[in-house]
């Protein structure tokens, strides 16, 4: 096993265990904190792929900003450990069914990648995840989708300002 593989398996185990802890934690604050660890593990994977920019933006945006807002809401509404209302049997059953079928879908997708196992990824010089190639790709090849998504964000911001002014 190479260093890369060891790191890959360690990070994967870290991510999966943290993700399970998000689900089984009774206290919502703990869930949020475990979720932050999941984001860190995923950022670690990005670093292994030499996508430093993606890794750090993942931490700034998801772990840094969005999760702070989650914590804000949970702390302010003060969700108690057992105050979550008990769900009915039918709702639980539907939940299990939909979750199970989604799992099936994922397993099917993973199975399709078996044929890719023997193939190597063509990385050229490995700089594709760094800022310069990324910025070039975003502002030349993908400029239209990039601008459209920025307009989407702008409209969301304007909406937030208008709601805030009321």
């Amino acid at each position: 096993m190479s260093t890369l593989e060891i790191l890959f398996y360690a990070l994967s185990a870290f991510a999966i265990i943290s993700a399970i802890m998000v689900l089984v934690s009774k206290n919502p604050i703990y869930s949020v904190l475990w979720l932050i660890l999941v984001f860190f593990a995923i950022s670690g994977h990005y670093v292994l792929l030499n996508a430093q920019f993606l890794a750090i933006v993942n931490i700034i945006v998801y772990a840094g900003a969005i999760m702070v807002l989650f914590l804000f809401v949970i702390m302010l509404v003060n969700v108690k450990q057992n105050s979550e209302p008990q769900k009915q049997m039918l709702v639980k059953f539907i939940g299990v069914l939909s979750g199970g079928s989604f799992l099936l879908l994922l397993v099917a997708l993973v199975k399709q990648t078996v044929q890719l196992q023997e193939q190597n990824v063509l990385l050229k010089d490995g700089t594709i995840g760094l800022i310069h190639p990324l910025g070039k790709a975003l502002f030349t090849d993908y400029v239209v989708p990039f601008e459209i998504s920025s307009v989407l964000f702008l409209s969301a911001m304007v909406g937030a300002v208008i709601i805030g002014k009321k």
Binding site: I29, F53, L71
Partner: protein
């Protein structure tokens, strides 16, 4: 076995670097508390700490000893794990930002060229940003786990303040990055060493915005709303005692040192001594001069922080938010547009 096939000397070198920088920052932070009290004393026309040792120089050690010896109290209804995690996170986050600061030109030891920087990564500045946004968790978790209304209120204030001012800070930074064309702190400093001017000449407004936001991020007066004693008793660390309290207070001073180092590197040439050609002396001596220059710049910035703290009263909370959202962000956007227009006009 290919597991261990990397350069172990490199690992040892980096570990030594990390140890030196962490302990040096702790030492400087220790004496910054002393400096803070002395500066306050001078500004208020009184002698300040003078009993412990010559000129009171042993005062920080006495303070530290006092904090360690005090009884540690964890409130009954506090969440024990998170209560302990809070100060640890605050401290870790503030120490982590030192990883990308270039402290000087490379030195030559035992035939090796040693970079005086822990990691020169492609995304240096963004790394600092990520670490700063992690620092908020230390305060939020500590404030919530204390199970005290005042602590929680103050933690929420601290978090919303940090988020608000991070935006303006990022926008001020974008203008700087437009002129430098690189995110690596090392490259930014090297450009200033070899170029004619420091970045402050090109980005005076950007520096002003960055400085104000850095003060807000460090929770320094006039932005120390999270610690407003007269409304919130003591702030997010109200329930803390002993060294856990010490960690929170220490983290604030380390944040101050790190933000001074980052401002010095980005706008004031980093380890560059003006009007002095580093190539005329031996590389090791040049590196030492560089480290000394950067340290002097850091001390000057810290003095500026203290001077402002003991001169200006604190804002009201709505004033703080108005300043952040309605003054700083539009100003930073204007600075960005201006920089863009100037870059275009030059072409």
């Amino acid at each position: 076995m290919t597991i261990l096939s990397f350069d172990w000397a490199f690992v040892v070198e980096k570990l030594i670097m990390i140890a030196i920088i962490v302990f040096a920052s702790l030492g400087i932070a220790l004496y910054t508390t002393f400096g803070e009290r002395k500066v306050a004393a001078i500004l208020q026309d009184r002698p300040g700490p003078s009993r412990a040792g010559p000129f009171g120089l042993l005062q920080p050690l006495a303070d530290g000893l006092k904090l360690i010896m005090k009884e540690e109290i964890i409130p009954t209804h506090a969440n024990k794990w998170l209560f302990i995690l809070g100060p640890g996170l605050a401290m870790t986050a503030s120490l982590m930002s030192c990883a990308v600061i270039p402290w000087g030109t490379p030195i030559h030891v035992f035939g090796r060229t040693v970079e005086l920087q822990i990691a020169d990564i492609n995304i240096g500045i963004l790394y600092v940003f990520a670490v700063v946004s992690m620092g908020v968790y230390g305060i939020m978790i500590g404030g919530w786990a204390s199970n005290n209304k005042f602590s929680l209120m103050s933690a929420l204030r601290a978090a919303s303040q940090a988020i608000s001012y991070e935006l303006a800070m990022g926008l001020a930074l974008i203008a700087l990055l437009m002129t430098t064309g690189s995110l690596s702190l090392k490259t930014i400093v090297e450009q200033q060493v070899t170029g004619h001017w420091w970045n402050i000449v090109y980005q005076p407004l950007g520096f002003f915005i960055f400085f104000v936001c850095a003060m807000a991020e460090c929770n320094r007066t006039p932005f120390d709303l999270p610690e407003a004693e007269n409304e919130l008793n003591f702030g997010y660390h109200q329930e803390y005692s002993s060294m856990k309290l010490g960690f929170y207070l220490f983290a604030e001073y380390i944040n101050m040192i790190m933000s001074s180092a980052i401002m010095a590197s980005m706008y004031f040439g980093g380890y560059d001594l003006p009007f002095f050609d580093e190539t005329t002396v031996a590389p090791n001596i040049a590196a030492m001069i560089g480290v000394g220059t950067l340290l002097i710049k850091i001390v000057l910035f810290i003095f500026l922080f203290m001077w402002i703290r003991w001169t200006i009263p604190r804002f009201r909370y709505d004033q703080l938010m108005n300043l952040g959202w309605k003054t700083m962000i539009p100003l930073a956007l204007f600075n960005m547009l201006l920089t863009g227009a100037l870059i275009l006009a030059k072409l």
